[in-house]
């Protein structure tokens, strides 16, 4: 490496004589140019945003009243022309409104979209490289109940994309409830990449139809898929008949299955199985058993729950006290008397706390 030139040295020369200084100089220059580029980009973004915002305001002023009128069943006689540059904006606004309303308004909005040729717009967007645009296209076709788009949407359902495939599943159900549910349910059970929360958000409104289809195939489901099926039933708040829940409440089942099945236990027929699980070795099962007894318990379960008040696990004691307070046939007076009889310190402490927490509601 060449030496660094001294300030007063005779060898003082340009910085190019030292490779590290050279590198530093060019890096600094690169940084300066990049900073300039960023400054220009920010200014460009600001200008673009200014014009887009202005245009958005004009668009909203023009189209929001039209959509509102259509929604309440008083469509304009003459629809304004939808400029090509506004099509994307319109689809976003239209879908926003579709997601906000239920009942006849959705059909009215769909009719308006049909008059404006939104099917064609959505089909074009479906081929877009942007995920956002594809998702809005799928949403549009679903809300419009466009039967001719079935094959296109089924193709989307089979794609690996975890978001777009789930939106396609919803669109298929919107287009044809029975056929859609039959098509989608096997995917619901298989596709672990579909987030449970998003499933609940998108499919909750079809839970009756999904529930019937799911329960019809639950009995024959391989054990490996049980946890997923239980998660689904819970996420969609399905009522699973006692006959199906009972096999999952057998003590030999894994803890995860038992806990989830206990959360679904809502019928008196499963009460004995739930009661038995209050003695389970794993505290997570006992917690859920206590909660289930709070929903299903009868007078003989007061003793089971009182015993759980002395459980070594805080959470079991807490849930057992909550369950006791929840039993509809126990009055405030009876609860107080029960509390007075408790010998175990932990049972007394947790009951005092929980009854104080629930004081407004129960005592």
């Amino acid at each position: 490496m060449t030496s660094i030139p001294a300030r007063d040295g005779a060898s003082e020369c340009s910085i190019y004589s030292d490779p590290y200084l050279n590198l530093a100089f060019w890096t600094g220059l690169g940084a300066a140019l990049l900073t300039l580029g960023i400054a220009l980009l920010i200014m460009g973004l600001r200008i673009q945003r200014y014009w887009l915002d202005r245009h958005e305001q004009r668009f909203q002023l023009r189209w929001r009243p039209v959509l509102m009128q259509a929604m309440v069943g008083a469509p304009s006689n003459v629809l304004p022309a939808l400029a090509r540059r506004d099509q994307w904006r319109f689809l976003k606004l239209w879908n926003h409104m579709q997601e906000s309303v239920r009942g006849e308004s959705t059909q009215r909005l769909a009719t308006l979209a049909e008059q404006l040729g939104c099917q064609a717009m959505a089909r074009r967007l479906l081929a877009s490289g942007s995920l956002t645009r594809r998702l809005f296209a799928i949403l549009t076709l679903g809300h419009m109940r466009d039967g001719t788009a079935w094959d296109l949407l089924e193709l989307q359902l089979l794609q690996p994309g975890r978001i777009s495939s789930l939106y396609a599943a919803r669109a298929l159900i919107q287009i044809d409830l029975q056929r859609g549910v039959r098509t989608v349910v096997p995917h619901l059970l298989q596709r672990d990449d579909w987030e449970m929360v998003r499933i609940a958000i998108l499919l909750q409104e079809f839970r009756d139809a999904l529930g019937s289809e799911l329960t019809s195939i639950l009995a024959g489901l391989p054990a490996a898929r049980w946890p997923r099926a239980l998660q689904l039933a819970e996420a969609l708040h399905l009522h699973v008949p006692a006959g199906i829940v009972l096999p999952w409440l057998q003590a030999e089942q894994p803890v995860g299955v038992l806990s989830a099945a206990l959360r679904l236990a809502n019928d008196a027929e499963v009460r004995p199985a739930v009661r038995a699980l209050a003695e389970h070795a794993d505290w997570r099962v006992r917690v859920q058993a206590a909660r289930a007894l709070g929903r299903l318990g009868e007078s003989s379960d007061v003793a089971v729950l009182t015993r759980l008040l002395s459980d070594p696990q805080w959470w079991v004691r807490y849930r057992a006290a909550g369950a006791l307070a929840q039993l509809p046939f126990l009055s405030a007076e009876q609860l107080r008397s029960l509390l007075a009889k408790l010998q175990d310190r932990y049972a007394r402490e947790i009951s005092t706390q929980v009854f104080a927490e629930l004081m407004d509601a129960y005592l």
């Binding site: 590290y20 100089f25 400054a39 809005f136």
Partner: protein
């Protein structure tokens, strides 16, 4: 020798800023992915009731001026189910009295469960007006001890630590819980913290975003943009986040208790816990994710006087030193992954030893120039590189803010931020490097730690 030192410093500066640029690139990609789904996620939808309930823990020590506002801000959060646990850590001022008066606290018969040992609890109260609010009054034991007491008292599987001087966005819990809903491996998430100075807060709710007037606070606005938008977001994309700010983080309680809770007698308890969680999960070969959410979720008052700012930075550096020094086995460990093989060594080289090399670099070049050891060109190139790269990095933080959240929309905002992006590199950063050096020195001397005394003005609060 002169040549070696000079070249070493130059290469160090190039490497440091090169890594920052790489992080910037990762953040840009991550923000692009987030932006793609933003419009879909913003469509109206009902709560699913699948969102896990959250315990919000607010440790407070001598916070009588801000505690009521903070609690009100937390009470207004839009989330299906949450509780608030304020921990009064033996405050010497009227923090407890303010809480009792503002929220009608009554003694509560709690079956307090000790999962993590803490200083003794003196009493537990519950609000008569807001049943979801409880206050734990305990002997002084520090912030970590308070958080552990809060964990003991918390009911729910996730807890969120919030600083008592923080103002939260209404949807902040909804934002930071998303990774937990998406991926069961997630054990911690954190969100972006912004400076509340200059903003307007009414009834605990942020009503207007604006820039502070004080230059020191403006420097910190730029600094926070850089630190959060590309520092942490970049590391998050490779599961290498080693810091989740104590001002706002969401944790899976089970994982934290298993790792032993917050460590007492440490200054940077927030960073120490994150590094320990990485180490714990990796040593036990358990799959996990620690994620950073770029959305601005929490606003905090930043210092506006040099003394408080200096103390804060000294404390941060000492915290960093303690956290790294307690977990050397994570570095280059067999199952260390990104945190052990990249993030930890980066922290050691550029954040821990950074001040020595950064401040030493400036010092060396000034000395060498005046001693005639290097030419004026070499000196100029160094300044050109150090200042130029600094401006580039801050400008890229501003760019990320522009393309993602655009919280400062007015022309005046942009002009002021652009000015401070430049000014920040002409003294403020160097001053920061000096303070960090002091922090490092104090850590070596093992000076006793205490709660960070923060001089609060709370000027952004509007009386209801």
């Amino acid at each position: 020798m002169t040549e070696f030192i000079t070249d070493f410093i130059l290469v160090y500066f190039i490497a440091l800023n090169g890594i920052y640029l790489l992080l910037n690139l990762l953040s840009t990609l991550s923000l692009r992915r987030t932006n793609q789904l933003r419009e879909i996620n913003e469509l109206p939808h009902a709560h699913t009731m699948l969102e896990p309930p959250i315990s919000v823990l607010v440790p407070a020590y001598n916070e009588e001026t801000t505690i009521a506002t903070t609690v009100r801000s937390v009470l207004q959060l839009t989330y299906p189910e949450f509780e608030i646990v304020v921990i009064n850590d033996g405050s010497r001022n009227r923090t407890l009295e303010v809480l009792q008066r503002e929220f009608a606290l009554l003694p509560f018969p709690e079956a307090y469960r000790i999962q993590l040992s803490t200083e003794p609890v003196r009493g537990i109260y519950r609000s008569a007006t807001y049943p979801q609010l409880r206050v734990i009054d305990k002997h002084n034991g520090g912030k970590a001890d308070s958080l552990n007491a809060g964990i003991n008292a918390s009911r729910f599987p996730l807890f969120c630590g919030v600083d008592a001087d923080s103002i939260l966005q209404r949807n902040s819990l909804q934002q930071v819980v998303q990774p937990f809903l998406r991926d069961p491996r997630v054990i911690v998430t954190g969100g972006t913290i912004r400076a509340a100075n200059g903003c307007e807060v009414k009834d605990g709710y942020l009503t207007r975003v604006d820039l502070p007037r004080h230059p020191l606070a403006l420097f910190q606005v730029v600094e926070y943009l850089r630190a959060f938008l590309f520092g942490r977001l970049g590391w998050s994309s490779v599961n290498g986040v080693l810091i989740i700010s104590g001002a706002f983080g969401l944790f899976r309680k089970e994982a934290v208790i298993e790792a032993g809770g917050y460590r007492r007698n440490t200054i940077g308890e927030d960073m120490e816990l994150i590094v320990r969680l990485h180490r714990h999960m990796r040593e036990h070969r358990r799959p996990y994710r620690i994620e950073f959410v770029p959305d601005p979720v929490c606003w905090t008052e930043v210092p506006e006087d040099l003394r408080t700012l200096r103390n804060q930075r000294v404390r941060w550096q000492r915290g960093l030193s303690e956290s790294l020094n307690s977990h050397w086995p994570l570095m280059f460990s067999r199952n260390g992954g990104w945190p052990g093989w990249v993030a930890f060594p980066y922290m050691v080289l550029f954040e821990w030893l950074g001040p020595v090399l950064e401040f030493g670099g400036y010092l060396w070049f000034v000395f060498a120039f005046f001693a005639g050891l290097i030419s004026w060109q070499a000196f100029a190139v160094f300044l050109f590189l150090a200042v130029g790269m600094g401006i580039l990095l801050s400008a890229s933080g501003l760019m990320l803010e522009e393309i993602s959240f655009h919280l400062y929309p007015r022309k005046r905002h942009l002009a002021l931020l652009a000015l401070f992006v430049v000014l920040e590199n002409l003294g403020y950063r160097q001053l920061n490097a000096w303070w960090r050096l002091v922090g490092l020195f104090q850590w070596i001397r093992q000076k006793e730690h205490q709660w960070g005394a923060m001089k609060r003005k709370g000027r952004w609060q509007r009386k209801p």
